[in-house]
């Protein structure tokens, strides 16, 4: 059983969208609605990828990414930011926090699947040189 993809998203419809999309393409999905529960889940469930909404209630997605990247247990898990903030500065902030991808909402489902596949493949290749 491959490792799941962790979706951290507070908006129910968008969480459902991402879960359905990923499941339809054969990925296992686990979900969190806040940054803190997302971090806890990332530590306990060892996901292969995290899709992080940046504007979460309470702790922001950027802060959560920073915490994940500074934790040796989760630092290797790639994080893709999924945000409705579409400006260049948002992209730069996401990159600075440690995200390896930035997808703007509304998402293009086809492109997103490909992008996820690309990033996962990169990681697999690195795992098995």
């Amino acid at each position: 059983m491959p490792h799941p993809i962790l979706v951290i998203e507070d908006n129910a419809a968008n969480r459902e969208l991402l879960s359905s999309l990923l499941e339809a393409h054969g990925y296992g999905v686990i979900q969190a609605t806040t940054a803190q529960s997302g971090i806890d889940l990332a530590r306990s469930a060892a996901p292969q990828l995290i899709l992080m909404d940046l504007s979460l209630p309470g702790m922001s997605g950027l802060e959560a990414t920073r915490q994940l990247k500074s934790d040796p247990g989760t630092t290797h898990v790639p994080v893709i930011a999924v945000s409705a903030h579409a400006f260049d500065k948002d992209r730069a902030a996401a990159m600075a926090a440690g995200c390896c991808g930035f997808i703007t909402k509304p998402i293009d489902t086809r492109r997103m699947i490909v992008e996820i596949a690309g990033i996962l493949r990169t990681h697999r290749l690195e795992g098995t040189p």
């Binding site: 359905s20 339809a24 909402k105 509304p106 998402i107 489902t109 490909v114």
Partner: protein, 858 residues
């Protein structure tokens, strides 16, 4: 005082006239008492009485205030007449002859007392009258020294008359006459005194009189001393004389007393005056002291005022500064509020759109099972609507950002041909749907500019042209450089054969939401923001947009002029040698044929549509390629396994359950097939996605035969070159991602984490291209680029710099637009495109001779 003196003068003159008239009556009526006024006294002569009458009259006339100037003339005549009488009478005395004037009017009886000749006035009287007459004539004559002769004459007359009067007073009149001189009558003396003082009083403000009448201390002393000095000695002398008579005082004693009294009186007067002057001085000193104190107070007050004024000025400046700050901060906060609103609006609209577009897309992709025809149509409607909304949001955001002055221009080296090709590729399918001929004639103009914004402008104009051109029409896109005295201007022209624009509508065309709301415009969809945004973008780049149309049905021509920032001089010379052998101009077959190299090799075509299969095969075969054809994924993978091709042309939309994506995934999953270049064919714009999955290039259907051949040749050539890229970055994460992406596209990758390491690798292994992180700590990315440029072994190597923030003009000037490119970080797709483009433009065989061959070159 002046008025009082003048009044005195008139009264005295009247009195003098009265005396004169009285004496004349006495002479005419032969009444002795009227002539002498004192019984038995000395009589006044007729001429004297007449002269006195005239003198009084002249004085009144000359005293001023008269309304008739003629009176002044008469007054002067009378005065002259008096002077004449006086002078003639005096002459008679001097010369001793009778001029016959003495008894001209009335004959005096002989034997009158004290008379030298009958009717003749005494010499002192004559002298006095002469003085008075002259004084009146010369009344207003003033010497340069300020002296008035009239006043001197009056004083002489006064002295003579006073002497005569004193003689009477002291009762020595008889003795006086015994000197042989006719006695002046007492009333004559009085009248003369009145006359002379009156004349003096007429001009009291000038000359000698000014001394007396002035308000200065000099005037004060004069007024005190003069009357006392005149009157008191007279009185004392009179007293002494009386004492000599009454008490038989010896004359010597009387004189001694007179002398002592005079001394005492004069000394007292002087003392009094000195005391007064001293008091005045003290008063003046006190006043000065008060003035000085006041001055000091005034100075102090001025000082305080000055300080207050300064404080007020400072306060005013402070207030102005605060007002300015407030205005600025108001504007800033308004701007911030607007920006925050825009960011929020964008976020809040994108969130629900995410669900709308995402779910409909998934339904459309049949991820949840097959849809019936109606459902498919409705899902499509939802998607189209969602995308339209998204476009609208993006345009509003762009417009607002421009309005807020926040849209940044990101300049970098541009090849206009490359930008135009991208636009062509994007719009090609849309134009084909309406069977429109989309013709691009854009030469390879190179300059420094914002390629993203220029692309946006062209996209908007072409989209607009497609929208308003009926099926079967034609759209031409061209560009040229115009040189004038201000420099070079890049002119982009988009011409269509569409519905055209009425003259009266031309002005409204670029106004936000200003769509021409007529039947013909109604039939097309659009936000009404596209052209407004295009205009703003052109203006943002320092240029402008204009439109020409000959009216409805005549088509339209949009022209965008953009001022060019020319590339630096050093790069201009190499521009010609670097003209791209790898990017043939669209719409220019000759150029494409010229640059094509004859290559033979096996190409796999994966396509399920027979007609497209045939077209592709024909194009490839006729150009020397060998072709294999597969209709689905399984067949394709089987072909590759049996005989690996040099390239694969892959249609993504394959029928029968499998998709092109699957083929792509599979090809890249195996190390044996990973390096086979794949060119995808898609009907919609999935090119970015295809590249992400490892496709070397992606073409849009319908396929342009020439373009296809050029692309296939390019990907094969690139693969055969066995190209090496040098990645210079101190961030291992970035190196990891980029290495992977480059390898996917067939690159060999070398990496270096420092400048020295990079220089060594570059010298020894001569990579085809270097990719440098501008944010690298040591050395800074641009410094390394310059090191590459200075070393002859690496000077020809193209370099792509990826940056976090756009470079400023100074940094851009350090780059050569022909060999260097700038790409934003995290935009790996753009980075890879630039890498390919630069590498095509600067092939390794162009490098300096004697250069080491790249390692691993077959």
């Amino acid at each position: 005082m002046t008025v009082a003196l003048r009044t005195y003068a008139r009264c005295a003159a009247t009195l003098v006239m009265a005396v004169g008239v009285t004496v004349l009556i006495g002479w005419l009526a032969d009444l002795h008492v009227l002539r002498s006024l004192v019984p038995g006294g000395i009589e006044m002569k007729v001429n004297t009485a007449l002269a006195l009458l005239f003198g009084g009259a002249a004085l009144v006339m000359l005293s001023g205030g008269t309304r008739w100037p003629v009176l002044l003339v008469i007054g002067k005549c009378l005065a002259a007449f008096i002077a004449l009488i006086g002078a003639m009478s005096f002459s008679e005395w001097i010369i001793g002859i009778d001029l016959g004037i003495d008894q001209l009017l009335i004959t005096e009886e002989p034997g009158a007392v004290y008379t030298s000749a009958p009717g003749r006035m005494p010499p002192n009287t004559a002298l006095c009258l002469m003085c008075d007459g002259l004084a009146l004539v010369l009344l207003d004559w003033r010497l340069k020294s300020g002296l008035r002769p009239a006043q001197v004459l009056c004083l002489i007359q006064l002295t003579i008359a006073l002497l005569a009067l004193l003689v009477y007073s002291y009762g020595v009149g008889a003795a006086y006459s015994q000197t042989g001189v006719t006695q002046m009558a007492m009333h004559t003396a009085i009248a003369l005194l009145l006359l002379s003082t009156s004349i003096l009083s007429l001009r009291p403000d000038d000359g000698l009189m000014a001394l007396i009448t002035s308000t200065t201390r000099g005037g004060m002393v004069a007024r005190r001393v003069v009357p006392a000095a005149i009157i008191l000695p007279l009185v004392i002398a009179f007293g002494c004389l009386k004492a000599i008579d009454a008490f038989a005082w010896p004359v010597g004693l009387a004189f001694a007393i007179l002398e002592v009294s005079t001394v005492v009186i004069l000394a007292s007067l002087v003392g009094w005056c000195a005391h007064s002057l001293q008091r005045a001085d003290e008063d003046r000193d006190r006043a000065s002291e008060r003035i000085r104190a006041s001055s000091e107070e005034i100075a102090a007050a001025n000082q305080r005022l000055h300080v207050l004024a300064e404080e007020r000025r400072l306060a005013q400046e402070k207030v102005q500064e605060l007002a300015r700050d407030l205005a600025v901060s108001n504007a800033e906060s308004a701007n911030q509020a607007k920006s925050a609103f825009l960011a929020n609006m964008s976020h809040e609209l994108r969130t629900p759109l995410n669900a709308i577009i995402g779910f409909s897309q998934m339904l459309d992709d049949r991820l949840f099972g097959e849809l019936n025809a109606k459902q498919a149509k409705h899902v499509n409607h939802i998607q189209v609507g969602g995308r339209h909304l998204l476009k609208l949001i993006n345009e509003i955001l762009d417009l607002s950002t421009i309005e807020a002055g926040k849209l940044e221009i990101e300049t970098g080296p541009i090849d206009l041909h490359v930008v135009a090709t991208e636009v062509h590729d994007t719009m090609h399918a849309l134009a084909a749907e309406k069977r429109l001929a989309l013709v691009f004639a854009v030469p390879s103009l190179r300059f420094v500019g914002d390629s993203g914004r220029i692309r946006q402008i062209l996209l908007n104009l072409v989209a607009n042209a497609i929208k308003f051109t009926p099926d079967g029409g034609r759209i031409e896109v061209s560009a040229s450089a115009i040189q004038d005295e201000r420099g070079r201007t890049i002119r982009l022209t988009v011409r269509d054969t569409g519905i055209g624009i009425r003259k009266e509508d031309l002005g409204r065309l670029f106004v936000e939401f200003g769509r021409l709301d007529d039947s013909y415009a109604r039939t097309t969809e659009g936000s009404g923001l596209g052209l407004a945004l295009t205009k703003r973008l052109a203006e943002l780049l320092g240029g402008g947009i204009s439109v020409l149309s000959d009216g409805l049905g005549a088509g339209a021509t949009f022209t965008v002029d953009l001022p060019e920032t020319p590339p630096s001089a050093s790069s201009a010379s190499s521009a010609s040698s670097a003209s791209s052998p790898g990017s043939p101009a669209l719409g220019s077959k000759a150029a494409a044929a010229q640059t094509r190299r004859p290559l033979r090799g096996l190409v796999l075509v994966v396509e399920d549509e027979t007609s497209t299969q045939e077209m592709l095969a024909d194009a490839l075969i006729s150009n020397g390629f060998e072709v294999m054809i597969a209709s689905d994924a399984t067949e394709a993978l089987a072909h590759v396994a049996r005989r690996p091709p040099m390239a694969v042309i892959l249609d993504i939309a394959l029928a029968g359950g499998s998709s092109g994506w699957e083929v792509l995934e599979n090809l890249h999953a195996s190390a044996h097939t990973r390096n086979i270049p794949v060119v995808t064919l898609t009907a919609n714009d999935d090119r970015a996605l295809a590249r992400n999955l490892g496709a070397r290039d992606a073409l849009l259907k319908p396929i342009d035969r020439e373009h296809l051949l050029a692309v296939v040749e390019t990907v094969i050539r690139r693969q055969q070159m066995n190209r090496t890229a040098l990645l210079v970055d101190d961030d291992p994460m970035i190196v990891k991602y980029l290495s992977f992406a480059l390898r996917e596209r067939g690159w060999n990758v070398l990496s270096a984490a420092s400048g020295d390491e990079a220089m060594n690798i570059a010298r020894l292994q001569s990579p085809h291209i270097a990719i440098v992180d501008q944010t690298m700590v040591e050395p800074a990315g641009l410094a390394l680029v310059e090191r590459f440029a200075r070393d002859p072994a690496t000077a020809h190597m193209p370099v792509v710099v990826h940056v976090l923030h756009p470079l400023d003009a100074d940094d851009l000037a350090r780059l050569d637009p022909n060999r260097h490119a700038v790409v934003k970080k995290l935009e790996s797709e753009a980075l890879l495109e630039e890498v390919e483009r630069l590498c095509d433009r600067c092939p390794a065989d162009e490098a300096a001779p004697g250069m080491t061959s790249p390692i691993g070159l077959a």
